[in-house]
């Protein structure tokens, strides 16, 4: 487990394979809990905690879980952690608990968590699994925060409850409503795809140029030798 390997895992979880913006997983909490930045951060952190813990435990137990019933076992493990997180939130962040409501118990069926368990934790040792869970969780949280920032700013004129656009800004309520969630998500995913395509094109061009240079250099060298 090298340092660059860890960095690569983080990069993959947050950028290249962002669970929300690239893989389009976990749409239900993404659309429902991004009405304000505070809710998004709460939801993201709760899911990150569950994701990291469940990845660790599933990775530890990966040799004992029978293949035929693995999904059921994963869900039992995940729901255990979700219950813990739910009780903790009820005790220490009651307001947030009230705002997120049903979506906390629904973390059990969050497909990002199940996907990481199935695709990664059940096949890899503990440390990479823990890092994978943390990276995916941070990717999930950051995507939620980006979407929520746009929605809260346009729909309420605020950011984290602070007045940003002034008192005279006519709140576009639609961005707090479900329709606004879909609009915002669509535009952000489109933007991410555009940036990704641009980056990929640049990479391809660079590779092509490098390849051409190399070929030309060897050809020229051969000519001179001849």
């Amino acid at each position: 487990m090298t340092l660059s390997g860890i960095a690569k895992q983080f990069r993959s979880g947050i950028l290249d394979n962002n669970p929300v913006l690239i893989q389009l997983l976990g749409m239900c909490p993404t659309l429902a809990t991004t009405t304000s930045v505070a809710n998004a951060i709460g939801m993201g952190l709760a899911a990150t905690a569950v994701l990291t813990c469940s990845n660790i435990l599933i990775s530890l137990l990966r040799k004992f879980i029978p293949k035929q019933v693995r999904i059921a076992v994963f869900i039992v493990i995940i729901s255990g952690f979700v219950t813990a997180v739910e009780l903790l939130m009820k005790a220490y962040f009651f307001e947030l608990y009230g705002a997120l409501g049903l979506f906390i118990p629904l973390i059990v069926v969050n497909c990002i968590i199940l996907a990481r368990a199935e695709a990664f934790a059940s096949k890899n040792p503990v440390l990479p699994s823990a890092i994978d869970g943390l990276a995916s969780g941070i990717g999930f949280t950051s995507a939620l925060v980006v979407i929520a920032s746009v929605r809260e700013l346009l729909g309420n004129g605020t950011f984290l409850g602070l007045e940003v656009l002034g008192k005279n800004y006519p709140d576009a309520v639609v961005f707090i409503l479900p329709a606004g969630a879909f609009l915002t998500l669509g535009f952000i995913v489109a933007l991410v795809q555009m940036l990704k395509n641009k980056a990929d094109n640049k990479k391809c061009e660079k590779e092509a140029v490098a390849e051409a240079l190399e070929k030309a250099a060897t050809a020229a060298g051969e000519e001179v030798q001849a």
Partner: protein, 356 residues
């Protein structure tokens, strides 16, 4: 010798790299066809109709209702429509340039979208509301889906729904008729539209004749059934639209409201007429549901489209949260057009019958 070698190695790669990357830009040589020998696939019949003439005819048919709206609500009504039409036109130009598409603003479809959107706003609408709505209609609903002919939803209606979800208080700030706003909405007298009264289970204060002529509150373009019918009739006579959608649409609403009146103490037909004349049903049936791009092209498809939209209007008006259901009903049916068209695909001429 050594220097020479270096030079060769340094210079060559650059030149070669450039030629290596460039070939993408080079295209196959264009084949030039002499004008005399132009070969095109059928159809060869030509008709004077073009997108532009059709759009202009529809705009012409809308003018009586627009003028009536201006007469009833004051010059501000005309101003709102002008802002919408202008910003739609501009938004279309800017978006098409930005997306690298051919600029087709001369087909006047953006102008029509803007005019329809303006006529769907109350006369008190602030300028920024009109501009945001227009930009949403053209950029998001029309151009992002591929431009004219590819948009799933009617741009003007989708923008109206967007605006009424985003700023409901501005979108329902209706003035009483003959308030005659000049430029500022400050002296507007708010009024309940006939639809709101009907929603609350009471007949509107206006008489049926007032509602037919347009002496009631509402959006700029929807109030006068008479002038809208005049425009609609013109479109029918000029064969711009067919009777199928308007007749089945309004007919379904009439039938259902006749069969299940919501207000006691009046004749069934009276309640039915109130429901038909109230709100945007007539402008929706003649000018928005018949949009070529977003409605079915088969006869039976059009009838299913109209009946479905009529059913939805009554459902939303009776059981929904909003007093008006015309915009939602047409948008919902817009999203089903692909299915309706597939289900009503006509048999190919000379082809075998399905159950033969």
């Amino acid at each position: 010798m050594n220097e020479n070698k270096k030079n060769v190695v340094l210079e060559e790669p650059e030149a070669k790299a450039q030629t290596k990357v460039e070939p993408k830009a080079e295209e196959t040589p264009k084949i030039s066809i002499p004008n005399l020998l132009t070969v095109t696939p059928s159809p060869h019949l030509r008709h004077r109709d073009s997108t532009r003439t059709i759009m202009l005819e529809v705009i012409f048919a809308l003018l009586p209702a627009l003028l009536w709206g201006t007469y009833v609500f004051g010059l501000r009504a005309l101003l709102v429509c002008a802002i919408c039409a202008g910003s739609c036109y501009l938004a279309e130009y800017v978006t098409q340039r930005a997306m690298g598409r051919p600029v087709t603003i001369n087909d006047c479809s953006a102008l029509l979208t803007g005019l329809l959107l303006g006529m769907n706003l109350p006369a008190t609408a602030p300028a920024w509301l009109a501009i945001v709505g227009s930009v949403f209609a053209i950029m998001v609903v029309k151009q992002l889906f591929g431009g004219l002919g590819h948009n799933v939803f009617n741009p003007a209606l989708a923008a109206r729904v967007f605006l009424s979800l985003a700023w409901p208080s501005y979108m329902t700030n209706f003035t009483a008729p003959y308030a005659r706003l000049l430029f500022s909405p400050a002296d507007a007298v708010a009024t309940a539209t006939p639809l709101v009264s009907l929603k609350h289970g009471a007949l509107p204060g206006a008489s049926l004749l007032d509602m037919f002529l347009g002496n009631v509150g509402g959006t700029i373009g929807e109030v006068s059934a008479f002038f809208l019918l005049l425009g609609g009739l013109y479109l029918l006579v000029r064969k711009i639209i067919t009777w199928h959608i308007p007749v089945t649409y309004i007919g379904t609403v009439a039938l259902l409201t006749f069969a299940f009146p919501q207000v006691g103490g009046v004749a069934r037909w009276e309640f039915m007429l109130y429901e038909v004349l109230a709100g945007g049903l007539i402008i929706g049936a003649f000018f928005m549901a018949t949009d070529y791009v977003t409605s079915p092209s088969t006869r039976w498809g059009r009838m299913i489209f109209g009946a479905g939209a009529g059913l939805l209007v009554v459902f939303i008006r009776y059981f929904g949260g909003y007093p008006e259901g015309v915009s939602f009903s047409i948008l919902v049916m817009n999203s089903l057009v692909w299915y309706i068209e597939r289900a009503t695909k006509p048999r190919v001429f000379g082809g075998a019958k399905k159950n033969a």
